[in-house]
Amino acid sequence: MTDTATTSRPVLSVENLTTSFKTKDGWNAVIRNISLHVHAGETVAIVGESGSGKSVTALSTMRLLPAGRSRTEGRILLDGKDLLAATEAEMRSVRGGSVGMIFQEPMTSLNPVFTIGNQIAEALVLHRSLSWKEAEAETVRLMERVRIPAAKARLHEYPHKFSGGMRQRVVIAMALACRPKLLIADEPTTALDVTIQAEILHLLRELQREENMGVLFITHDMGVVAEIADRTVVMFRGDMIETGPTGQIFASPEAIYTKSLLASIPRLGTMGAASAPKRFPEVDASTGNAVDGREMSPVAQTASPILKVANLSVRFDLPHGRVHAVEDVSFDLHPGETLSLVGESGCGKSTTGRAIIRLISPTAGTIVIGGQDVTKAGTRELRTMRRMSQIIFQDPFASLNPRITVGSAIAEPILAHGLMGRRDAKTWVAELLEQVGLPAKMADRHPHEFSGGQRQRISIARALALNPKFIIADEAVSALDVTIKAQVSNLLLDLQEKHGLAYLFISHDMAVVERMSHRVAVMFLGEIVEIGPRAAIFDNPQHSYTRRLISAVPVPDPVRRGLRPEPLTEEIKSPVRPFEYVPPKRSYREVSPGHFVQVTTS
């Protein structure tokens, strides 16, 4: 895209950058000998997993690390001027002036006690010596440039009134206020929903083209890299592993690490003719080569579902309105199958899961588990019900009680329900640990001795302890690094095949969902807008939201870049309604056997 630019002098040249942090045992280098160049109009991505040092690289470049406790060596040339030799005053005019920065957390990177207008205008006042009045007019223009609707009216609002996507636009407006030559974006879309991410990426690309900026883009997501980067730097534990044009890195990666990273990413559209879920590819860590996983054996059709949810609604009241978190949701879950609930944050998918096992009380509807209506179950019936259903959560670090050994955590439900004596329970715990791929002797250890992936395995073992009929996996693999994610997902598939478990798989990650599911239900603003067999949903999506959701997933293939349709720029509406609001009765149309789509009324 920017072949002409590469011949000129780069906007940013980083040469042999080494940054060390002060520790008890002296200086400890966290990134070593990083060299990269960004030209005008070009996007360079730094990609790596957590702990690879990619963010430290960005912060070092702008000298934003705490002075006494960090040390940066090498050369950082911005337009030929060495930033490491610049005075603090010169750095201040660089930051926000010739270099703009965007960070990962849109929810916390704006100051909560100042208005949006004030915060954007501040950059203008600082660098372009405008008066606050002039700056305000310019601020409105900037807000319009980053496509914030009703910019003028929203000027005097505070950040908490803005959604995550809108806040990130504000941060971008702030970064672009002084027409910087270089934009450093540190995971700017990681905390955002996938459709919002698509919009922000699109916006960034447009702005870059208009301004002919250089962009240094830091991310862990290979899909995003493929989508936007001209050149890519792969980092691993503080070292540069590989660098080159993005197309070349994806087509013929040289480093083993890059190869295995690319092989592990869940990709959409790799199911072929499979009808059942398919295991994730197994990657050989020593060569980086991968073998695609096998298709799971088909499930025997049974007449009666293990879980039957009908017209489930969950609402709760806020001082200024009512949240319709889940509205009129109905579905069945059959033994041995996986039904995925997909959708973006706030769509009610987690609330649905938690209402089913009565972690929160449903407002209306019925829940039938194993033929028994548990909607109004009392304490005793609830306890019986709890032996049939289990839940696995997202955060592996908060899912286990840190004070209790994993063995006794797994044994606890069995003992509490009086199903076994202590001795039998111990044998059972050992068996469960082996089933989830951990040595039985680890039962005596405490959670802090395990990695995130191992902890998630322990949570699975604990969920299996009562021999449940179905398990709710609430974003169970979402927080894990790419390679671990594939392994734990494969474990879930194996356990399902072995025990005939049913999963309600709640996830926002469409690529994982495609691999894991028999059926998929798409949720939007508390309602199911489309439900059907996995192949039908992914290959023949009917509802506009389903289509948007699938098309917004970045494709980890630079060749297919830009195939996606123009994303919508409207903000997702809120499920908070006035108290007098009565949700309309929805009807569904059957597209093909088992594939239903909500009929849009308005």
Binding site: L64, G96, F103, N111, V113
Partner: protein, 316 residues
Amino acid sequence: MARIAQALLRRLGGMAIVLALVVTVVFIIVRVTPGDPAAVMLGSDATPEDIAQLRTRMGLDAPLIMQYGQFVMGILQGDLGQSIFLNQPVTTALAARAEPTFFLTLFSILIAVTIALPVGILSAVKRGTIFDQIVVTLTMVAASVPSFWLGLMLIQIFAVGQGWFPASGYGGPGTPFLDRLHHLILPAVALGVVNSALITRFTRASMLDVLGDDYVRTARAKGAGEGRVILKHALKNAMIPIITVIGLSVAMLVAGAVVTETVFGLPGIGNLVVSAVLRRDYPVIQGALLVVAAIYVLINFIVDMLYILVDPRVRL
């Protein structure tokens, strides 16, 4: 605006409930006295007739629920009962002693805040330096000193030793205002210094917390200088919890005033309470408790209102 009014109403409602509970707690405290309060108050050489008379005067003969009703009705009409020993209404007794307590509390909070805010902020900004370490150590020590003991030491040094300040009292009835204030300097310093320790430590912690926040990094990335980052972006956020602690420490100052007034012989509410306790003058104890608690609840309410000014998120 409607939302602010709504928030205000909600907090007013909460305040009313807490006040009702305060009244009830005060009522209960005075009634848990083992034995007959009238007999306790009059001492061992009282005749049964005297005791019976006092019981009637205090309304102790009525059933508890009636007593409670009368108590609440009285409070609603601004009647806190009659002091047995001072032979005057409790409200009059309290009003007569409000001035020294009010100014003592006011001056000590001013002293505390004037020391605490700059020192706390500076200490956070210069974290890990010698200055910071000295501040941390000093505040720790100051928080361990009983304010009455510090008062005694100050009297010894500056009143008895140097003669700069009066050792005790508040001047006679006709004393000019400035002279009365002169009497308050040592007690206010004693109370203020001890309380500044708490506020300093809190300010420091709160600033450190805020300085690590993402939006501070955003401000730096925008090219804002350190002064601007600290005084504009960090401080306004740090103030939110600091306001709470200042509000809380007003209550602690009132508690400290009880003892400090005794040490400096100030004729304030604290002094009144202590002598009432020694004389078992229950109506006075009851009245003072009520008034002080009500003031505390009011201060909390004001703090809540300040929140609305400082933190736009509360305006939901």
